[in-house]
Amino acid sequence: MKILVAVKQVASLDEDFEMRVDKKDVEEDFLLYDLNEWDDFSLEEAMKIKESSDTEIEVVVVSVGPVRVDESLRKCLAKGADRAIRVWDETIEGSDSIVIGRILAAVAKKEVPDMVFAGVQSSDQAYSSTGISTAAYLDWPHAAVVADLQYKPGSSSAVIRRELEGGMLQEVEINCPAVLTIQLGINKPRYASLRGIKQAAAKPIEEISLADIGLSPADVGAGSSMSRVRRMYIPAKSRAQMIEGTIVEQVAKLIQIINEFKGA
């Protein structure tokens, strides 16, 4: 029995960042990388199933990305994942989330898991589509925004609760194997202590290439994607200002601002 957890190393912005010369992204130097918050929850959900089951369950984490991603994979290993796989090839650069889904599906075909978990979305790009496209390429059932999961390893279906708008929950029975995208708050992710992460360095991370999963450079990259980033920028800020003081002072200030705005 095996659960495949797809994870992503996400970027967050450092103070005073600069854009890349091609204006399509932030200069890498100004990015701080960490494991996507949603993935903490999907890994924890897999670990919970593993730890409460009497049958042997293997939790495998997989990520698509360059060497720096190993750090995040190691964190997953420290939290108890059995194996970690990283897929990379220079040509993957520029792929959209659908292509990433295709790669993940190819890994799943090779690994033959009983369940695939992914986060609802990534905190940096927020496409919310990687998990879903993985399901599409696998031709598996899928459920998004899963806030509760009841699943007995090995059974042919699982009962999940999906989070809808307005605090509503939708209870769904889904056939397995399936791809679930896991929502924040479904559990309490464990802490990966630094010693744990260090010790996890002893566990190998399998690096696999496109060929290993039966894909070729033609299947990936910006060229094969259905969408491409054109530019990334900060929109001009609308200037809002809090006017303080007594009512009279505020009105006076307001008149002054209106006059300034008119160019008077």
């Binding site: 450092d14 103070e15 005073d16 701080l32 960490d34 464990r190 802490y191 202590s193 630094l194 010693r195 744990g196 992460i197 260090k198 010790q199 800020k237 200037r239 809002a240 200002q241 809090m242």
Partner: protein, 718 residues
């Protein structure tokens, strides 16, 4: 003098040989029970892990003897109890030596080589000394009884703060019973000893070699006189004597047999604990070996033999509890209870012949003898307990070791967990960009050197709070001005500096600490400097005491020492005097941890301030509550915070103007507490640097700091 050989103590005169044999049989039995008890205890200690505190045994021994003879740790903060204990101790030691001398002669030397020495003048002096020793012993014991019965000291109340009424181990009345049983049996031994002496005198009042020398045992003589006055005849005394003799003898033997099984064992365990005292306990925490699978203490057998010994050394005196800031504000922590819980747990599990199953050795949990996670997280690692413990018990390393295990298991406050992750990611607890670490320098009218690219005399390790906290940045800028004014050659690591790790280590995140410490050591090693200076006592402690374990040995000074020297050498001119009435709060990590009590006080004097000490000061300073990572864990609402408790203490000082601190975290904690405890407007909280800064006259042009900051951050509303 009569024939001196006859002037000696009558031992077994008039005893039937069988009675003597019976007595010896009891004696041997008592010794056997005693030895077995010791064996069980030693077997228990040997079930612990090894400890590095060996070495320099002679030095340790001398130190221990000094401490014991002077009773210096016992008279601290409780003179009467210390002195009373001194009397009991001295009485016991002398009486023990006395009895040993008798045994030596009667049972060993005389039968073997036929030599006697216990007679004549030696005997008389011996007799006098022992009489006085006995008197002291009884006096001390009476005071202890009085203290327990009538003084109602909170520290002698064994009720637990971490358990509820109704919990099996809540009130610990068995300890109280044991205390009283100990006091009564001890005092009975002493009193019957004197009466026995008196009956002997009355009984042999016709024998000059006894009666003529009675004044050498004055207490016995006095009682003998009283006996005679009330009409006790020599025969009556003789009869009384044999009964009493057996009572006294058997009681004493029982007492000895009981030593390893009762609190009396502290005679040995406390001595051993003092002997293996680690002067850096809590200041430098133990490393976790790389190959060790899980960090910290999970089971009782994870403790070292020395930890286990500490558990048995505790005399329940309650001084640690009395000094504990967490306890003072009602947190579910008493350092004594941590020790006693574990002691009960160890006795329960490790005294048996076979070691119980692993699962039964878990010291974390909610059962009897287990330590609650809330208890461990309440500790501020302020070292007040370690400082005052008269028998050198090291609570803090033990607490941190247990926390390490909680951290590994992720059993901690969610906010703390977030902070640890933030520190791992950004290298600081504020979650700010590394690049912003030195942004406070922008407001200065001069440049500060980058110690990573040029050599400096002083490398200034700034620390997180002083770097990122807006209020503390002002202080930090003040210190920069002072250093610049004095013409000191100094520089910073800028974004090369990471959180020093002191508090992270005390939280128990050893892996993260190692990461931070090694990274900082690498940065420091790449720089050329003579000494490190810091305004942050937390960084100061870990760099000074703990970095050497990771290969980073540097000279480091707290700013107070540096500034004091600059003023003394005339390199810093004070342009004016402040005649504020101030009090000074010793930061734990500067004062208790590193004994930096004097420099800040000297500076205050130089500035012209009138310093009024608070009740709890210097080694008894009261933690602001921020230590041990507690600054990242919110205090429960509705309860008093240690910092508020401290404000109350300061407010007692009539006419107090400034509450002076010299630690960035203190400034944050106390300025907040000043407001929340309702003393705002009565006095103010200032960092010592700000007072020094106030006395300076700077010649460099001040930049318009505020306009600058405001134009960068317009008030935005969406």
């Amino acid at each position: 003098m009569n024939n001196p050989k006859e002037v000696t103590r009558i031992l077994f005169e008039n005893f039937h040989p069988q009675a003597i044999h019976l007595f010896y049989a009891f004696g041997y039995a008592a010794i056997a029970v005693f030895i077995y008890g010791c064996y069980v205890q030693i077997r228990k200690y040997r079930r612990g892990k090894p400890d590095g505190s060996w070495g320099e045994l002679l030095h340790r021994f001398i130190d221990m003897v000094k401490t014991m003879v002077t009773h210096r740790t016992l008279v601290r903060r409780d003179k009467s109890a210390g002195r009373a204990h001194g009397l009991i101790f001295l009485g016991f030691v002398l009486l023990f030596i006395g009895t040993s001398i008798i045994t030596l002669e009667y049972d060993i030397i005389e039968p073997l080589i036929g030599v006697r020495f216990w007679y004549g003048n030696f005997y008389l002096w011996f007799s006098l000394v022992l009489d006085l020793a006995g008197l002291g012993l009884i006096g001390g014991l009476i005071y202890m009884m009085y203290r327990r019965k009538w003084l109602h000291l909170p520290k002698l109340d064994y009720k637990r703060v971490d358990r509820q009424l109704g919990d099996a181990d809540f009130d610990r009345s068995e300890y109280r019973l044991e205390d009283w049983a100990f006091l009564w049996s001890f005092i009975l031994i002493g009193v019957t000893g004197f009466i026995l002496e008196a009956t002997r005198l009355v009984w042999l009042s016709g024998r000059p070699s006894v009666w003529d020398y009675r004044m050498w045992s004055p207490v016995g003589a006095l009682i003998a006189n009283i006996m005679q006055t009330i009409g006790v005849t020599p025969e009556g005394a003789g009869a009384l004597r044999s009964g009493l003799w057996w009572f006294h003898g058997l009681l004493s033997l029982t007492f000895i047999a009981f030593i390893p099984y009762t609190k009396i064992k502290h005679i040995f365990t406390a001595a051993a604990s003092l002997m293996f005292k680690d002067p850096l306990a809590g200041r430098r925490l133990p490393r976790v070996p790389d190959e060790q699978k899980v960090a910290g203490y999970k089971t009782i057998t994870d403790l070292t033999w020395k930890n286990l010994l500490h558990l048995d050394a505790c005399t329940k005196c309650g001084r640690c509890q009395e000094a504990c800031p967490a306890n003072a504000v009602g947190a579910p922590l008493s350092p004594r209870d941590v020790i006693l819980s574990l002691r009960e747990f160890a006795n329960h599990t490790l005294n048996a012949k076979e070691l119980p199953k692993e699962a039964e050795l878990d010291i974390h949990g909610k059962d009897i003898g287990q330590v609650f996670m809330e208890t461990l997280w309440s500790c501020r690692t302020c070292l007040a307990c370690v400082e005052i413990c008269p028998v050198a018990i090291e609570h803090v390393p033990l607490i941190v070791q247990m926390r390490r295990n909680l951290v590994e298991a992720g059993e901690m406050d969610p906010l703390l967990e977030k902070t640890l992750q933030t520190i791992h990611k950004t290298g600081n607890s504020f979650g700010e960009s590394k690049r912003k670490r030195a942004s406070w320098v922008k407001a200065l009218p001069f440049e500060i050197k980058d110690a990573r690219i040029e050599a400096v005399d002083y490398l200034w390790f700034v620390g997180d709070y002083a770097s990122f906290d807006p209020r503390n940045q002002k202080v930090t800028q003040g210190f920069a001005r002072i250093m610049q004014k004095a013409g000191v050659d100094f520089g910073l690591l800028f974004e090369g500096e990471l959180n020093a790790g002191n508090d992270i280590r005390r939280v128990g995140e050893e892996g993260l600490y190692e990461y931070l410490a090694t990274a900082n050591i690498q940065s420091l090693d790449d720089c050329e400097f003579k000494s490190i200076v810091t305004t942050d006592p937390h960084s100061y402690n870990t760099i000074r005491n703990e970095y050497p374990d990771f290969g980073g040995t540097y000279e480091i000074q707290h700013y107070s020492t540096v500034v004091k020297k600059l003023i003394e050498d005339g390199r810093l001119q004070l342009a004016k005097k402040l005649n504020y009435k101030v009090t000074f709060h010793d930061p734990c990590h500067l004062g208790r941890f590193n004994k930096g009590y004097d420099a800040p006080r000297d500076i205050l004097k130089m500035l012209g301030c009138e310093l009024i000490e608070m009740g709890r000061t210097k080694d008894n300073s009261f933690c602001c509550g921020a230590g041990g990572g507690r600054i990242w864990i919110p205090d429960p609402v509705g309860t008093e915070k240690p910092s508020q408790n401290r404000m109350k203490e300061a407010a007692i000082i009539e006419g107090l103007e400034v509450f002076v601190v010299s630690c960035p975290k203190d400034l944050t904690m106390f300025e907040d507490a000043l407001k929340t405890s309702g003393y705002e407007g009565k006095f103010i909280v200032r960092e010592l640097i700000e007072l020094i800064d106030e006395c300076m006259e700077y010649d460099f042009p001040e930049k318009e700091v505020f306009a600058d900051v405001l134009s960068l951050e317009p008030h935005l509303a969406s």
